[in-house]
């Protein structure tokens, strides 16, 4: 398994995809505090306060999660697009091990990218707050909790990406299905079923709830939301693993 994970990491390192994605995340994580600092207090924009550091950490997490999901999705579906699945299956004919290696690798990548995003956002946020003479309080405002949770959620999105990509085996279909699910189905379902709180039980809602600092009535507590997201990941991964054993390439 170690060799397979090392090979998966090498695959990611030997194309530009991961480097470009990490660059976009780092740029966004750095740009957001700088932009917020530049517009703070102008034209109705909120002024900076000590808790802004938590916002700087929280804000790029959604994009980072989306990017890691995309990397996972392309890493898995791309094997079929570029037909690299053939040598992969010859190296390791047991499909479950192959899938597990990719899942572990993308979870690790998600964790590292999440931590890197936090490091960049914290550094940029600290500089911006200091320049505005605002106290930097990294151990308050729920920041330690966010620092632990965000990389874990981003790692989980890497797993979801791999599962979707491996399930659909087609990059365009996988990206399309993910976008349709996130932006259309998750929006329509609560309306159609007349259950507005259903949104909390869907993947995007669950991700939102896990990282939320407060839980209004009707919303999931972070632990429950994490369990929901884990359940979605488990179902997708299991379905992919079962189908992979019976499908030909």
């Amino acid at each position: 398994m170690r060799s397979l994970i090392a090979a998966e990491l090498l695959k990611l390192r030997t194309t530009r995809m991961l480097a470009v994605c990490v660059g976009v995340v780092a740029l966004f994580a750095a740009a957001l505090p700088i932009f917020s600092g530049a517009v703070a207090g102008r034209r109705g924009e909120p002024t900076l306060v000590p808790s802004s550091l938590a916002d700087f950490l929280h804000a790029p997490a959604q994009l980072t999660g989306g990017v890691v999901l995309l990397v996972g999705l392309l890493a898995a579906a791309g094997e079929f697009r570029h037909r690299t699945i053939f040598p992969a299956r010859l190296e390791e004919p047991r499909t479950t091990r192959l899938l597990a290696a990719k899942l572990i690798t993308l979870a690790a990548v998600g964790l590292v990218v999440g931590i890197a995003m936090e490091a960049v956002a914290t550094l940029a946020g600290t500089i911006v707050l200091a320049r505005h003479h605002i106290a930097v309080e990294p151990l308050a405002h729920g920041i330690p909790r966010l620092a632990v949770i965000l990389p874990a959620v981003i790692a989980l999105q890497g797993i979801l990406g791999v599962a979707i990509g491996a399930l659909l085996r087609n990059t365009a279909a996988a990206i399309g299905a993910t976008l349709v699910w996130a932006f259309i189905i998750e929006g329509i379902l609560p309306v159609v079923t007349n259950q507005p709180h259903l949104t909390n039980w869907l993947p995007s809602g669950a991700i939102r709830e896990i990282t939320s600092n407060h839980t209004p009535a009707g919303q999931l507590v972070p632990v429950a939301a994490a369990a929901v997201l884990l359940a979605y990941s488990a179902v997708l991964v299991t379905a992919t693993a079962i189908l992979d054993r019976s499908r030909e390439i």
Binding site: L10, K11, T14, T15, H82, P87, R89, L90, E91
Partner: protein, 245 residues
């Protein structure tokens, strides 16, 4: 030396029978040509051997085990199924490094096989910029990475220029001279006849014959493998036409 064995191997796609109760076992230490027209079932047979396609019935084994149950497959059997299996943005060397890393093969072996197939100078170029012949060579390098004693090559001469075909012939002969078993499919009969010891002829998924080339030519009283092939397969085609009419 790994022993390849097909037993009553059958593959159906709906009403179409791609491979029909194929039973054969290429002799270890020899070059066996796997000959048949396009669509005769050669690639399907090889894909079933490598676990890439599931047989409808029968078995395809290596040393008595399906490919999926081999402990260290790349060191047992080297396979070339398709030259277009490399990420276009990855260099040829990196494409092999990925395979070597997954199979715990030392990286020095990557450079060795690249030199063996004559790709050292192009090793750091992206595979997407390779010509068909270069991709064939890279796929062959991938098959040789684990230094296996058995090679399964599906149409390795496809897309090669005359110089490339000449080079391939020499390489296959030198690999066999090292004691390796080579199972090579092709429909380029004149070319294959210069390389192989034994021939397996299939038509419409069925085994027509499996014997040494010299014996087959002597028995048919012919100097050309192509003539013998056409004679053997024509009778089957005629009988199928009669069946359908």
């Amino acid at each position: 030396m790994a022993q390849i064995e097909f037993h009553e191997l059958t593959k159906r796609y709906g009403q179409v029978i791609a491979v029909d109760r194929l039973t054969l076992s290429p002799r270890p230490g020899r070059i066996t040509g796997f000959v048949g027209a396009n669509g005769a079932g050669k690639t399907t047979t090889i894909r079933m051997l490598l676990g890439l396609t599931r047989p409808s019935s029968g078995t395809a084994t290596i040393d008595g085990r399906p490919y999926a149950e081999l402990r260290d497959p790349l060191r047992s059997i080297g396979a070339m199924v398709d030259p277009n299996v490399f990420h276009p943005r990855r260099t040829g060397r990196n494409a092999l490094r990925v395979i070597a890393r997954a199979a715990d093969i030392p990286e020095a072996r990557v450079d060795h096989v690249l030199a063996l197939v004559g790709l050292t100078n192009a090793a750091r170029r992206r595979a997407g910029g390779y010509s068909t012949g270069m991709r064939q060579r890279l796929a062959l390098a991938a098959a040789l990475l684990g230094d296996p004693d058995t090679l399964v090559l599906d149409e390795p001469a496809n897309g090669l220029d005359p110089e490339g075909v000449h080079w391939l012939r020499g390489l296959i002969k030198s690999l066999a001279a090292d004691g390796r078993t080579v199972f090579v499919s092709s429909h380029l009969l004149a070319e294959l006849a210069q390389t192989i010891d034994d021939v397996v002829i299939i038509a419409q998924g069925r085994l027509i014959t499996h014997e040494p080339v010299s014996g087959l030519l002597a028995r048919a009283d012919s100097a050309s493998l192509e003539d013998v092939y056409l004679e053997l397969t024509q009778s089957l085609t005629d009988s199928r036409i009669k069946e359908t009419s």
